[in-house]
């Protein structure tokens, strides 16, 4: 992180910014020039892709698709967080329950999230409901398992303190167990965030009538490669932005964990670099 040493700290900031973003900028520029006179049907020039992208954002088609898809992602992921964290706290805290359900969890978690898509779609049909369901089902495991690990990894000095000061169970779970497990829980949510986008796209590919996956697959069916590219780039952007938003929220919730003093400005470069700062 940038330290504001001396009065020329802003030079340091610019250097930092350039260090983080030079590679994407160079790659996009290369793509632009190399593809500029491409004759390949499947590899249209980047300028054409950008044209389609702006066009479909402008006429609302892409934004509508994205709103539909991201609403499913948001709902499914939220359900996974609520279920994963609640059951994770319960299972992590109660060793009897843990040994009773562990074999089942070990089996279910081994099924790849996308593998259940056909079953669910066959059983429940097409539409937001089944799609939210598969997203939630795929996302719940990383969160559940991380919450269990987080609870079990709690230091014995913390639980001793809670016992010595006779904290009632509800207060203990809310004020001690949950915050102590939060670093692990956030790590689980980060994994599930990627999983949720994957399942969203794949489930819309396999059966859907709306959404970003449908936007892409209809581009395939109507021989419009620039639409396929535009959809893919757009999903990439959404993925990147949700990740940035996640890091911002995580740094806020886990300020104590990262030992970030309050009122520290969050700079773009420090978000991009946040992955390396984990203790």
């Amino acid at each position: 992180m940038a330290r504001r040493i001396g009065k020329h700290w802003w030079i340091y900031e610019i250097v930092q910014f350039a260090t983080y973003f030079w590679l994407p900028v160079v790659l996009v520029a290369l793509w632009w020039f190399i593809s500029s006179d491409s004759q390949s049907f499947f590899m249209p020039p980047l300028s054409e892709i950008v044209q389609t992208l702006l066009n479909d954002i402008g006429n609302g088609e892409l934004l509508e698709a994205a709103a539909f898809s991201m609403r499913n992602v948001g709902t499914g992921l939220s359900a996974a967080i609520v279920l994963g964290v609640s059951f994770g706290l319960l299972i992590g805290y109660n060793s009897v329950l843990r040994s009773a359900v562990w074999p089942l969890i070990a089996f279910l978690r081994a099924i790849p999230g996308v593998a259940i898509i056909p079953i669910v779609l066959v059983a429940f049909g097409v539409g937001p409901g089944p799609q939210i369901f598969v997203i939630a089902l795929g996302c719940v495991w990383p969160i559940l398992l991380n919450t269990i690990d987080g609870v079990r990894g709690i230091q014995s000095s913390i639980t001793d303190t809670a016992r010595a000061y006779r904290l009632p169970r509800a207060l203990f779970i809310r004020q001690v167990l949950l915050p102590a497990a939060t670093p692990q829980i956030m790590a689980g949510i980060r994994i599930s965030l990627a999983v949720s986008l994957t399942i969203m796209v794949v489930s819309e590919f396999s059966a859907g009538n709306q959404g970003l996956g449908v936007y892409i697959s209809s581009g395939v069916q109507s021989f419009a490669p620039s639409q396929v590219w535009a959809g893919t780039v757009f999903i990439g952007l959404i993925g990147y932005l949700t990740n940035v938003a996640f890091v911002l929220i995580e740094r806020r919730i886990l300020a104590w964990y990262f030992e970030i003093p309050r009122r520290t400005a969050t700079k773009i470069t420090s978000i991009a670099g946040a992955e390396n700062e984990r203790a």
């Binding site: 000095s157 913390i158 303190t161 016992r163 000061y165 006779r166 207060l171 915050p179 104590w256």
Partner: protein
């Protein structure tokens, strides 16, 4: 027993023939001792003798295999309201996601105390340990000595009349340790609390204690109880320079060595 004024009357604590075994390994055998109201009792012994085990039995975190611990007339079978625990590992015993004030408040919330009363009490206890103005800081923003002060404030706010301290200053530098030792002496004088300090540091034990209980052997037994007659007010330089101080420290050290 104690001539100085007492604000809280601490209940006496009696340890009656406490033994503790882990499986077939006997760690403590037939320990009997008492802690008078307002007294500072130090328990010394070589590393690994079972001091922490004893302290866990005293605090009710762990039941003894035989014998019992009583506070007033109550047998300790689980942690008691009257006892405040201060751990050696201050980093691990404060909640890093809570500010200093929230850490001190937490046990009071468990007691369902009125929140504004609890706040007021926590603030005054923090002031009592010299931490006024640090209420909104997080533990990781404080030095080790300050974190241990928070742990002491938490025990005081909990209204503990008996402070149980497990090697409380072991991982602090010498100067900070002296300050905190003087804080403990000062709190006892002002509040009339009883303090039990488990330590391997013989100088610390003699400096703090009204009586020092020497543990040694495998399984550990009480090999001596030494009265320290240095008065309630002590000074890191003057008291430690007294002939009596070095006589007691020599006596305890010899006993621990001989038994080994």
């Amino acid at each position: 027993m104690n001539a100085h004024s007492t604000v809280n009357a601490a209940p006496p604590m009696v340890v009656d023939g406490v033994s503790k075994s882990y499986g077939s390994i006997e760690v403590l055998r037939g320990l009997t001792l008492r802690v008078d109201p307002g007294e500072i009792l130090c328990i010394v012994g070589p590393s690994g003798v079972g001091k922490t085990t004893l302290l866990r039995c005293l605090s009710g975190l762990m039941p003894p295999t035989s014998g019992e611990v009583r506070v007033a007339d109550q047998v300790v079978t689980e942690p008691l309201q009257e006892i405040g625990l201060v751990f050696q590992d201050y980093r691990g015993s404060l909640m890093p996601w809570m500010t200093t004030l929230e850490n001190v408040l937490l046990p009071l919330r468990g007691k369902r105390m009125n929140l504004s009363d609890a706040r007021e009490r926590s603030l005054s206890c923090l002031a009592n340990v010299g931490l006024a103005g640090h209420e909104e800081k997080y533990p990781w923003e404080l030095s080790g000595g300050m974190q241990q002060r928070v742990a002491i404030a938490r025990a005081l706010a909990y209204d503990a009349h008996i402070l149980l301290m497990d090697e409380p200053f072991g991982s602090l530098d010498a100067q900070t340790r002296f300050d905190l030792e003087d804080l403990v002496l000062d709190l006892r004088r002002r509040l009339g609390i009883s303090v039990i300090v488990v330590t391997h540091d013989i100088d610390e034990a003699v400096y703090l204690a009204d009586r020092v209980v020497v543990l040694s052997g495998k399984p550990a037994t009480v090999i001596d109880t030494v009265a320290v007659d240095l008065g309630p007010v002590r000074d890191q330089v003057a008291s430690k320079g007294l002939a009596e101080f070095s006589r007691l420290r020599g006596r305890i050290l010899n006993e621990i060595r001989r038994k080994k």
